[in-house]
């Protein structure tokens, strides 16, 4: 992969890349000028032709999403999802910290394509430093005439605001995000209506991930053909990958979606192997919510299709947590369960109660107090939540279910060892509560 020329990260490490001058000197805002000479529909068609799939986790084609906007709409909003809350994921952060104008340019072009009048950048509250970097860049873009009224003399107006969250994973879900911008509790909405029809302030709304929008200027500048030339069909374009855990070089890297999990851990351009040559016990390759791989499943390709072959929910955020052989899998299980119990918004019964129940059980198993039936209850509970079986309003609970289910499936032996070793008295000490 040494010959891969970074696109999205091309300005990372460049002195002053976050300023408009350096960004422009390196070719910035050319795509915007080009896009404004196209009709909005032409921009949409170009993005559709590039088959740009959403980088936020679900992989829904961005152009198709834009196409859902009703034809006769009066007001449209664009929401930029910068809530980046998935554990081990920090690619949006790298993009915004190092190259904020790339996002702003992508936002303006996408807002133009969707004829949005206001773009809201929803920013994770923990991005303190980044907020100032991005706000400075937005101010620069206003001053340069890229935002505001009559952008580059095109007659197109766009206002751009940053809206900071308050520390909730759920606000990364697009309708949770919309509610949050509206000043409400970030409880996801029932769909339909989808945001494209009725979103922010009841108006047609597009919500796109930061990385997705960062791809847009390059598609416009270099064309859909260039974009589809990178990576396999169905997973085209440059992609950011994160890797963390006991690897030699944790970080955020760019590459085509032809790489495997093994490349991400061991590749020279990526993680460069495990610290002290430890063995990989497990990997959660798509953020934690997509599910888990064993150390024998490292040939999984980091694209939109292959994860399903390994029982995973999807590519997710393409951010891998590597678990080494010396880590107790019970601790992994507990950490995962804890995260979702903490982040479930509590709106739907199954997710609210299921995630906290699974955490209680996982905590007990990790403490060596797992009893017979615990794994079964946990596994079954993980099967009793989720949007995919229609049991909840949003996908958070699918994200809670998949890592726990796949972990129990793939590491049952190790878990059972600990559970079986648990003293029999546990069963007698806390018998099932009988109610009538």
């Amino acid at each position: 992969m040494g010959d891969y020329e970074p696109v999205l990260l091309r300005n990372v490490g460049v002195e002053g890349a976050a300023t408009i001058g350096v960004y422009k000197k390196r070719g910035g805002y050319r795509a915007l000028a080009k896009a404004l000479k196209m009709t909005p529909d032409e921009v949409v068609e170009e993005v559709k032709a590039a088959a740009l799939r959403g980088r936020g986790g679900a992989g829904f084609p961005a152009g198709v999403k834009w196409g859902f906007l009703p034809k006769d709409r009066d007001v449209t909003y664009l929401c930029v999802n910068g809530d980046e809350s998935e554990p081990p994921t920090f690619s949006n952060r790298v993009l915004m910290e190092n190259d904020p104008h790339q996002l702003i340019e992508g936002t303006i072009i996408s807002a133009y394509a969707t004829q949005s009048s206001i773009a809201y950048v929803y920013l994770r509250v923990e991005f303190h430093e980044l907020f100032h970097i991005l706000q400075r860049a937005i101010d620069e873009a206003y001053a340069a005439g890229y935002l505001g009224k009559n952008i580059l003399g095109s007659g197109y107006d766009l206002e751009c605001y940053i809206h900071r969250g308050a520390g909730a994973y759920i606000c990364g879900e697009e309708t949770g995000l919309i509610e949050s911008i509206e000043g409400k509790r970030g409880w996801p909405r029932n769909k339909p209506p989808f945001p494209a029809v009725e979103g922010l302030f009841h108006k047609p709304t597009v919500v796109n991930n930061v990385e997705t929008l960062c791809n847009v200027p390059h598609i416009i500048e270099r064309g859909a053909g260039w974009f589809t030339g990178i990576g396999p069909p169905g997973s085209s374009g440059p992609k950011l990958f994160c890797v963390c855990g006991p690897v030699n070089r944790p970080g955020c890297y760019e590459g085509p979606m032809t790489i495997t999990v093994r490349d991400l851990i061991y590749g020279d351009a990526y993680g460069q192997g495990m610290i002290g040559d430890r063995k990989v016990k497990a990997v959660l390759p798509g953020g934690i919510s997509m599910g888990i791989l064993t150390g024998d499943e490292l040939d999984m390709k980091m694209d939109f299709a292959d994860p399903a072959e390994y029982g995973l929910l999807g590519l997710g955020t393409a951010a891998a947590v590597v678990v080494s052989e010396d880590t107790d899998i019970r601790v992994v299980l507990r950490s995962i369960a804890q995260f979702f119990a903490h982040e479930s918004c509590g709106q739907c019964t199954q997710c609210r109660e299921g995630t906290s129940w699974m955490y209680k059980i996982a905590r007990r198993i990790a403490a060596g107090e797992g009893g017979p039936g615990d794994l079964e209850v946990m596994y079954e509970t993980a099967g009793n939540l989720g949007m995919m079986p229609g049991l909840s309003i949003c996908g958070l609970s699918d994200g809670a279910a998949f890592p726990i289910r796949t972990l129990i499936e793939k590491f049952r032996g190790e878990l059972e060892q600990h559970v079986r070793e648990a003293p029999d008295e546990i069963e007698q000490r806390s018998p099932s509560t009988v109610r009538s």
Binding site: A168, R185, W187, N190, A341, H342, E343, S344, C345, G346, Q347, C348, T349, Q350, R352, E353, G354, T355, S356, W357, K360, I361, R364, G371, G373, V377, N384, M388, P389, G390, L391, S392, I393, I426, S430, P431, S432, T433, V434, R435, S436
Partner: protein, 540 residues
């Protein structure tokens, strides 16, 4: 009318409703917590889920979708095919019931809601008999959230009906959800209390024992309560209510569904406005004053006394010297019987409508709403039947006077006898009125509490509270709504309707319905009674 298929059975349903409503109306028992017909749909309890046929993704016809769908959210459409009788649906119901009880304290023996609790009912009908939970329960606190209401958040199922009520119906936004996940709690905002004029409804809305009425707390097990259909006499809106009583004691009032009048709601003023009926100071037996001597005549002798005294007055002063002051607290039937009786003795008796209590401002909800957006109204006229009594006076004809003019004329000596009906829970006799009454030779006072009129009346007859009477009230909009008797009059007293019925020359037991039928012969309007519809099964 669209036809849908539920569990293989064709169901014809009303337009514009959801599958859940259609199923409930057609008699299906579908568990649900967050859905309430008077509130917006949030589809968050995930208990009413169903299977639905969708176009096959492979093309060529319909097939059962692998996803469950909230029936509260799907509008009925001709040809829709759904099912609740499936393993997947039932499994979800069992699991949701298990989930909801994970952190529930199971303190039914000390819970007010026990007996009318949807956690109990649904657990019995849809849940498993055992729990697999072996970890410690998360315990949410008990909170005092307002002057009248407690929140035991450990019992809460987070259906958010109460939160939506304060947003959508009162517009006061008093309640919110705090925390996250299984630590979610309903709460008021810091330094604020749940204290809006309709707040009692959140207790009714709560499907479990989380929101509790301090007034009713630990007073009665609900299965001892007898439920009687009534109409709130608190203002001229005429909310349909249920009076819950046991052994002659009222314990609480609950709203009854009454579309276009009060829908599912009632105000706190009405909800807690019945206490006067059990006041120890009430007049409970007839009193007669003869030459400075006070006695209690047997009820049997009352018609005789009234008849003899009235005739004596008429003989001495003429038939136009008799007046009757009717109260807007009276039922239509009672007013009609009294008028009929008095006119039969004194054909030129003057009919007077007593004082109409007006208090405060018209209160419309949600706060600040107007026109079609108004969901509930508390009216200034704090009596239930001004229009009904006015109608009877107008339709009967003959001499009538306004209350003010009557006071003036009576003070000037224009009358010799009067039958004065009170029945107001609050003191109502003004100085002027007491002075006017003082001029009369013979006064019958029919009232709840002793006052300046009953102190001087020749004959005092006990009046009863609304729950001790039956009849009908005509509300502000002219709707005639019947109400039943929930409890017996206090010992020694007799129902107003009963003794007026006897005075009017009828024998046997007074019945509001029977009297209404007679009234309708004379005043056609009274054939158009409007009963609130029965509460649909499984709708709480």
């Amino acid at each position: 009318m669209p036809k849908i298929e539920i569990d293989g059975i064709e169901v014809e349903c009303r337009d514009g409703i959801t599958v859940l409503q259609a199923a409930l109306e057609a008699g299906w028992s579908v568990p649900h917590y967050c859905y309430h017909p008077g509130l917006s749909v949030v589809a968050s309890c995930r208990l009413c889920l169903m299977e639905m046929q969708m176009p096959s993704p492979k093309g060529g016809g319909m097939e059962w979708s692998s996803k469950l769908v909230p029936s509260c959210q799907v509008p009925v459409k001709n040809g829709l095919v759904v099912r609740f009788a499936s393993d997947q649906v039932k499994r979800n119901q069992r699991r949701v019931m298990e989930f909801l009880l994970l952190n529930h304290p199971l303190d039914c023996p000390v819970c007010d809601q026990a007996g009318e609790c949807l956690l109990q009912d649904y657990s019995y009908e849809f849940g498993d008999p055992t729990s697999r939970m072996r970890d410690e329960k998360h315990k949410s606190p008990k909170k005092d959230i307002g002057p009248r209401t407690l929140l035991y958040s450990d019992r809460c199922v987070l259906c958010t009906r109460c939160v939506r009520f304060t947003r959508e119906i009162t517009g006061t936004h008093d309640l919110c959800v705090t925390h996250r996940g299984s630590e979610n709690e309903i709460d008021v905002f810091p330094g604020k209390a749940l204290d809006n004029p309709l707040q009692g409804n959140v207790v009714d809305l709560c499907p479990v024992g989380a929101l509790l009425d301090k007034d009713f707390l630990f007073k009665q097990r609900v299965w001892f309560l007898k439920r009687t259909k009534s109409i709130c006499p608190g203002c001229s809106t005429g909310c349909a209510v249920s009076v819950d009583s046991n052994e002659g004691v009222v314990y609480r009032l609950k709203p009854r569904y009454n579309p276009g009048v009060n829908d599912w709601w009632m105000c706190d003023e009405g909800r807690f406005g019945w206490k006067y009926m059990h006041d120890a100071n009430r007049i409970t037996a007839p009193v007669i004053r003869r030459g400075g001597v006070t006695g209690t005549p047997p009820w049997d002798s009352v018609p005789e006394i009234v008849d003899a005294r009235l005739r004596a007055v008429i003989e001495a002063h003429g038939p136009d010297k008799v007046a009757v002051v009717l109260s807007p607290m009276m039922a239509c039937e009672e007013a009609w019987l009294l008028v009929r009786f008095l006119r039969s003795v004194a054909s030129e008796a003057t009919l007077v409508l007593g004082p109409v209590p007006i208090q405060g401002q018209l209160q419309m909800f949600p706060v600040g709403s107007t026109g079609d957006a108004v969901r509930f109204t508390i009216r200034r006229e704090k009596c239930p039947n001004r229009r009904g009594v006015e109608t009877i006076i107008a339709e009967t004809g003959g001499p009538t006077l306004s209350f003010e003019v009557f006071c003036e004329q009576a003070t000037a000596g224009a009358f010799a006898a009067a039958w004065i009906v009170g029945g107001y829970p609050e003191p109502w006799v003004t100085k002027d009125f007491a002075k006017a009454v003082g001029q009369l030779e013979f006064v019958v006072a029919q009232d709840l509490f002793p006052n300046e009129v009953t102190e001087v009346a020749t004959l005092v007859l006990p009046a009863c509270g609304f729950a001790q009477r039956e009849g009908s009230f005509m509300n502000f909009g002219g709707r005639i709504q019947p109400f039943d008797r929930a409890i017996a009059p206090p010992d020694g007293a007799k129902g107003d309707g009963q003794y007026l019925y006897e005075l009017a020359g009828f024998t046997g037991l007074y019945s509001g319905r029977a009297v209404r039928e007679m009234m309708a012969q004379e005043i056609h309007l009274f054939s158009m009674v409007k009963e609130a519809p029965p509460m649909p099964v499984h709708q709480h």
